[in-house]
Amino acid sequence: MKTIIEPHKIKMVEPIKLTTREEREGLIETAKFNPFLLRAEDVIIDLLTDSGTSAMSSEAWAAMMRGDESYAGARSWYRFRDAVKDIFGFEQVIPTHQGRAAEHILFGVMVLPGHIVPNNTHFDTTRANIEFNGGEALDLPCAEAEDLDSDFPFKGNMDTAALEKVVAENGPEQIPLIMVTVTNNSGGGQPVSMANIREISRIARSAGIPFYIDACRFAENAHFIKRREPGYENTATIDIAREIFSYADGCTMSAKKDAFANIGGFLCTNDAELAHRERNILILTEGFPTYGGLAGRDLDAIAVGLREVLDEHYLDYRLLSTRYVVNHLLDAGIPVVAPAGGHAVYLDARRFLPHIEPLQYPGQSLAVELYIEAGIRGVEIGTVMFGLDPHTGEEHPARLELLRLAIPRRVYTQSHMDYVLEAIGLVWERRREVRGMRIAKAPKFLRHFTAEFERV
């Protein structure tokens, strides 16, 4: 059979409210042209993020009902810890209310002002947390990542030659840890190869620098390796995942992505002394070490989700359904990051709207137009998100100017995706009428969440 079907059927639905184009024009203006400030009920297809927005299974809901809400030593904690250890393999597991809290704690204990943290590409909260601690978040994407049309299979790779150079020039004193994000979200949801992970690990270990994985979409990355990297065709995806983590010293995880959870995250390490210091911060900002700011039921839902996400039928469906959208866009000649990543479709706003200056935020303009056209909510990943240096206050065009349409797991059907494709096509036809934006008001850190815009 060529047809890809979902390896699940629908057990519970949530009605969608439909709006008219006129209504949406008013609504986006009220939201100051920032999709983050729209009310969710005014959105028809919500592709703002795949984080925390997935559909849990009946098994996960059943596990929620078993949640042990005891403050200390709950059964839910032990089930969660065992599920994490089984896949990730690290000695120390620290639950947090979500991924950014894990990052906050990790960088809080490891990063000092003047430190450099290399990554293939840092994501927004990761970068902000490093900068908040006075460090520099350094992106070292591979050369192929620059070419949005290249069909290189592992465009999420890190440029390991550049990494070696940075390590040689700065040494372990200035580099508290090296990270790699799987899949590489800011770079188009592109996977990192096992060979690349192995090489980063070798460089890190020979320099004595801890190597951490930002593991949000580890299962999607592991499955890309199975489908694309020679030698892994016959390895179970769960074993590929285990191998990935065997090369690292720790990880941060947002369970809101590849664990289908609506809330939750964790931090892992093999260093008991470090974990001890991390738990001291955890208790202050998150919660006691056996719940970390999560309800017992959420620990249980994550334990179930981690097992489900490594189902290979699910992962085939997941990767192919994202590719379905990307291939249709390519066929229509619409500029999009290729090949398809795992969790999202990335429109290339720079080529979609070449008449708009980078500092007039073409990605933001495209997000606004897509909402007006069809009630679809996406997120700019470009100069609004990454263009401002919070230390100097200077603004520069970001390396890539993208509109990300993130696909929540198991939530939308093919008909929803066909509707999205039609809407993008309609904006593409009238693209020359689209105007740029300027920022009316914005905070210093993570400005994209709450910035207010005006049309130029």
Binding site: E14, P35, F36, L37, L38, R39, A40, E41, D42, V43, D46, L48, T49, S51, G52, T53, G67, D68, E69, S70, Y71, A72, G73, A74, R75, Y78, H97, Q98, R100, A101, H104, T125, A128, N129, F132, N262, I263, R279, N280, I283, L284, T285, E286, G287, F288, P289, Y291, G293, L294, A295, G296, R297, D298, P443, K444, F445, L446, F449, T450
Partner: protein, 459 residues
């Protein structure tokens, strides 16, 4: 119906099974836990009175709210429901959700405190004080002296002592006091309320000195119950009206909704000042999550909004506090020394009186909590010298006058029979008290040591 009757205004819709253990099992478990009840596995506990935080039973309405979660990352309808409910019931115009109370305290402390400031409050609370200290402030206790006397029958032991506040102003100047932290139903004093009369005076004092008044409101509804019962002029007011009146006298609030509002997770920071709100939105996104979810799942915001409306019902609070009073009176009548008057959320055993043979530096309350677990499988919490920690400058142990064990009653979870078992267990521990030995640290964490500390018995 008499004032003493407190039948639950609900029936049971879902149960959770509990495991019975033997004394030998428990002896082994407490040794493995380093004589710290925090380190026990919940499945080894029979009746869990460690805390009332996050362990309440939600109603069927709250569970339906859980199913109505809108998990959109931005602009979830549950957020708007929560925000509107906070304004309607608690008066505050702006709400910033946080994953729990300490998340709100973190943001509040970072935004309002400058290095070298002083924050007066009606007794310290563990995490609250640490957030204040980390932001550069010194906590100053301004509660009335009666609060430190376990025997005193003062009806409002949570009240402020204005001589202490005035002394602080003349010593450091009002400009070094960013806000006064006012807790309703003061936890460390034994769940003791503040009166509205005292709160009104505090409002006037804050206005006079141009100091903000921040409300630690986690048990505001229980405080309202005591005002209704004890303060002149309030017996015909509803709990809901009194709660609103309390909140409306303050400028901002931190809330751990895991207590009064009967949810398993969640909290918020609320305020009336638009500029303060804007700054809080900028910081919440770094630590907690976007300002329309703040690290809470949509479903949990919905359950919280519903829980707030249930928490201010007179029948609910009457039964809630009634159950705590029932246990407290039963213990007191059998000659167990407890903190008087009995508070709203917990019964506090006076460990220094129960175990006079153990000096405070051998942690009598910690030892009593461990012994109570061994005796009966009841899990309680130390609230004495271990919880008080060390002075941030001298490194010496704080030596609180109150050396207590807290039996905290989760909301709507346990029955009268469970309370009877608990009372029996305390009586048995009292009879065998001479066998209880003091403890010493084998591991002492630098901050909030009570959570993870380990001990051994002193022979």
């Amino acid at each position: 119906m008499t004032n003493q009757a407190w039948a639950e205004p609900y029936k049971i819709k879902m149960v959770e099974l509990i495991k019975m253990t033997s004394r030998e099992d428990r002896l082994k478990a407490i040794r493995e836990a380093g004589y710290n009840t925090f380190l026990l596995r919940s499945e080894d506990v029979y009746i869990d009175l460690l805390t009332d935080s996050g362990v309440g039973a939600m109603s069927d309405r709250q569970w339906s709210g859980i199913m109505m979660g809108d998990e959109a990352y931005a602009g979830s309808r549950n957020f708007y429901h929560l925000r509107d409910t906070v304004e309607e019931y608690y008066s505050y115009s702006y709400t910033v959700p946080c994953h729990q109370g300490r998340g709100a305290e973190n943001i509040l402390s970072q935004l309002l405190i400058s290095d070298g400031d002083y924050v007066p409050g009606n007794m310290y609370f563990t995490t609250t004080r640490l957030h204040q200290e980390l932001a550069g402030a010194t906590f100053v206790d301004a509660i009335i002296d009666e609060a430190h006397d376990a025997e005193s029958e003062h009806p409002f032991k949570g009240n402020f002592d204005f001589d202490k506040l005035d002394a602080l102003v003349s010593e450091v100047g009002a400009e070094h006091i960013p806000y006064v932290c006012m807790a309703t139903c003061v936890n460390m004093a034994g769940g003791q309320p503040i009166s509205l009369e005292n709160l009104k005076q505090l409002r006037a004092w804050c206005d006079k000195h141009d100091v903000m008044l921040v409300h630690d409101m986690t048990r505001v509804a229980e405080n309202a119950h005591f005002i209704q019962r004890r303060e002149e002029g309030y017996k015909d007011k509803t709990i809901r009206e009194i709660v609103y009146e309390i909140c409306a006298l303050t400028d901002a609030a931190t809330m751990s909704s895991k207590k009064d509002a009967m949810v398993n997770i969640g909290g918020f920071l609320a305020m009336n000042d638009a500029k303060f709100y804007e700054k809080a939105c900028g910081l919440v996104v770094v630590y907690e999550g976007l300002h329309t979810y703040g690290g809470m799942a949509g479903r949990d915001m919905e359950a919280l909004a519903i829980g707030i409306t249930e928490s201010v019902q007179d029948d609910h609070i009457h039964a809630r506090v009634g159950q705590v009073q029932y246990l407290g009176r039963k213990l007191r009548d059998s000659g167990i020394p407890v903190v008087n008057p009995i508070g709203g959320h917990a019964v506090f055993l006076n460990a220094s009186k129960m175990l006079p043979h153990i000096p405070q530096e051998h942690f009598p309350a910690q030892a009593l909590a461990a012994a109570l677990y061994v005796e009966s499988g009841v899990r309680s919490m130390e609230r004495g010298i271990v919880s008080a920690g060390r002075d941030k400058v001298t490194g010496e142990n704080h030596k609180p006058k109150l050396e207590l064990v807290r039996l905290t009653i989760p909301r709507r979870v346990y029955t009268q029979a469970h309370m009877d078992v608990t009372a029996g267990a305390v009586q048995e521990a009292m009879e065998r008290r001479n066998e209880i030995k003091g403890l010493r640290f084998t591991y002492e964490p630098e901050v909030l040591r009570f959570f993870q500390a380990r001990f051994e018995q002193i022979d």
